[in-house]
């Protein structure tokens, strides 16, 4: 095996990790604060990708403008999903919450099939490939990685430096106590879902630059995203970050050494083993 090939896939793994981290952070934020896993999260991201695609390909918007629109749209969608589906089942057993968002997954995936057919759609942007020390690095991925880092820093500052962010962290620590202190948890949930949606929108913009979108897009990234959240410790931001890069490296380097499928198998087996040995996640606290 060529050393340069391994190095190249390691670098690509880091860049893929950036995108995965962005997907995982939005989902993790919602889980940490609202305490519900959105099984359909990546499928909603898929809708964001379609939004960018149609705005650019059909209506001729610039990618920047379409990207901003997609982020806004996804934020609204996040709020809508919370109001329509999550709010009525906030106090249901966790199993029912899981199944309701599973229903949303079915709905989004099939409705997209119905509306957009199963065609793979790509923006076909001619983004350059950079050559660094004999390794080829895709510019789209580098951009995605950079934006992910910025978004994460932004989210961190928001959570630690603003009043709303502090309230959100307080809810994730003890929701009853926060309600007793007179905070409006409903509003906190809405803001969280909105921000989670917006993060998904951002991920959608970065993903459509490098992948083609189709109704089953969520199936290829969805399971991986949950596993990253759980592996890092559901609700733990640094954990999700570390887990993203761990998983993306396994997939990227494993894919070069064996096959893509086997690399995913290894990643999933690592996940299963990790959750049994350390259910609270790599960096999570025991609930």
């Amino acid at each position: 095996m060529d050393a340069i090939l391994i190095a190249e896939s390691a670098v690509n793994g880091i860049l893929l990790g950036g995108v995965l981290a962005l997907l995982a952070l939005g989902l993790n934020l919602i889980f940490g604060v609202v305490d519900i896993v959105w099984i359909a999260y990546v499928d909603l991201v898929m809708l964001g990708m379609y939004a960018v695609y149609w705005l650019v390909a059909r209506f001729g918007w610039s990618v920047w403008l379409a990207g901003l629109a997609a982020v806004a749209l996804m934020a609204a969608l996040g709020v809508l999903v919370h109001l329509a589906i999550i709010a009525p089942i906030l106090s249901s057993p966790p199993v029912n919450q899981l199944l309701a968002t599973g229903g949303l997954l079915f709905f989004v995936q099939s409705f997209a099939t119905f509306l957009f057919t199963t065609d793979h759609r790509s923006l076909r942007l001619a983004l350059p490939t950079l050559q660094v020390a004999g390794m080829y690095v895709s510019f789209a991925r580098l951009l995605a990685f950079g934006v992910s880092l910025l978004a994460m820093v932004g989210l961190y500052l928001f959570l630690t430096r603003t009043y709303m962010g502090t309230a959100m962290r307080a809810v994730s620590q003890d929701r009853e106590a926060v309600a007793l202190m007179g905070a409006d948890t409903r509003r906190i949930y809405l803001v969280t879902s909105g921000i989670g949606g917006a993060m998904g929108g951002l991920a959608a913009v970065l993903l459509i630059l490098q992948y083609s979108v189709h109704p089953h897009f969520g199936a290829s990234f969805g399971p991986l995203t949950f596993m990253i959240c759980v592996l890092g410790g559901l609700g733990s931001m640094p954990g999700a970050f570390v887990a993203s890069f761990l998983m993306s490296e396994v997939i990227s380097i494993g894919g070069i050494i064996t096959s893509t499928e086997m690399a995913y198998v290894v990643a999933f087996v690592i996940f299963i083993a990790a959750i049994v040995v350390r259910p609270q996640g790599l960096l999570g606290r025991r609930a």
Binding site: P88, L99, F107, T118, F226, F268, I272, I275, V276, P279
Partner: protein, 332 residues
């Protein structure tokens, strides 16, 4: 009274293949075979689901069963009767290997669901990765038994006559209901309900939590493998997307929840509704409404979880019981 109704219904089902329905006959038989097979699988899933052990990876067990039987036959001409035993044993072993550590170290709720989801994906990806054996994403077709068998081979479990499969599916489904009934009336049910309510409390009163959970999981997995084998032998074509992984796993969960996973006939009713709806939309609109059936399912699933967590059949049953209770006690 209720027994008489049940007996009459069964007699009608048993006679159905002999009704002279002309050309439509084979199609109705086909749909009923599908309904019985999947109702059996979904009932097996609800054995776990009703106790709060929500698995999103039962496709793994279905796939292991179906692929074991078909591959052993295709490569070495080993009868599916033996291959089936291998498949069921394989599913049971996987259930133990995954279940034991999960239950021993108390991986519950969301976490258990996500672990099972990963297991389903691992099986699907392994089938795709081992494409030299399994045909990968293209799927694999069951090889025909020797022609001189005349389309009826018990050893190969291949029958040209749909009526044979109809009776097998009917019998398997009834067997599944019997198992469900037996669990429902056993001590295991009380134990599992106690565990579902509060694991620590259950352990404190001396219920062996891990053992009970493991037993019900192995039972559920083994039955699902049987369902997978039956389905594989009937349709004679296997595909990793339709027999393992998230898609089929969620369909199983959905049908069980739709009908109601807490009652005997709930999963069957849910299966009948989903398959009938899918077939109706397919026949009536063809590919024009591709994805419409699943869109309706998804919407229905969300609404049912929010408004009728007991499922359609489950809710009706609860209402009927309440009504009977008020009828027999008019003083209240």
């Amino acid at each position: 009274m209720r027994r008489a109704v049940a007996a009459a219904g069964l007699a009608a089902l048993a006679l159905l293949p002999w009704l002279p329905l002309g050309g439509a006959h084979l199609y109705y038989l086909h749909v009923l075979i599908l309904i019985f097979t999947w109702a059996f699988v979904n009932t097996a899933w609800s054995l776990m689901g009703r106790f709060g052990l929500v698995s999103l990876g039962h496709g793994a067990f279905i796939g292991i069963g179906a692929y074991s039987a078909v591959l052993l036959w295709n490569f070495w001409r080993i009868s599916p009767l033996i291959g089936g035993v291998v498949g069921v044993a394989g599913a049971a072993i996987v259930a133990v290997v995954i279940g034991y550590p999960c239950f021993r170290y108390r991986v519950v709720g969301h976490y258990f669901a996500l672990v099972t989801l990963a297991v389903g994906e691992v099986v699907r990806l392994l089938i795709i990765a081992e494409r030299d054996w399994t045909g990968g994403s293209l799927g694999v077709t069951l090889k025909d038994a020797a022609k001189d068998a005349g389309g009826f081979s018990l050893a190969a479990l291949q029958f040209a006559d749909k009526r044979v499969f109809y009776y097998i599916a009917l019998a398997v489904w009834l067997g599944g209901l019997a198992v469900w009934r037996r669990v429902d009336r056993s001590m295991a049910r009380s134990a599992m309900e106690a565990i579902g309510e509060d694991e620590t409390a259950a352990a404190c009163v001396g219920i062996p939590v891990t053992r009970f959970k493991l037993r019900i999981t192995v039972l559920s997995a083994a039955l699902c493998a049987v369902g997978g084998i039956l389905y594989g032998q009937y349709v004679t074509y296997l595909n990793p997307e339709t027999l393992a992984g998230i898609g089929v796993s969620l369909q199983v969960v959905f049908a069980a929840v739709l009908g109601g996973m807490y009652s005997l006939l709930g999963p069957t009713v849910g299966t009948a509704i989903t398959i009938a709806l899918a077939e109706y939309l397919r026949v009536a609109f063809g590919v024009k409404l591709l994805g419409m059936a699943e869109t309706i399912y998804g919407l229905a699933l969300i609404l049912i979880i929010i408004f009728l967590p007991e499922g359609l059949y489950g809710t009706l049953r609860v209402l009927a019981i309440r009504r009977r209770a008020t009828a027999t006690a008019p003083g209240r």
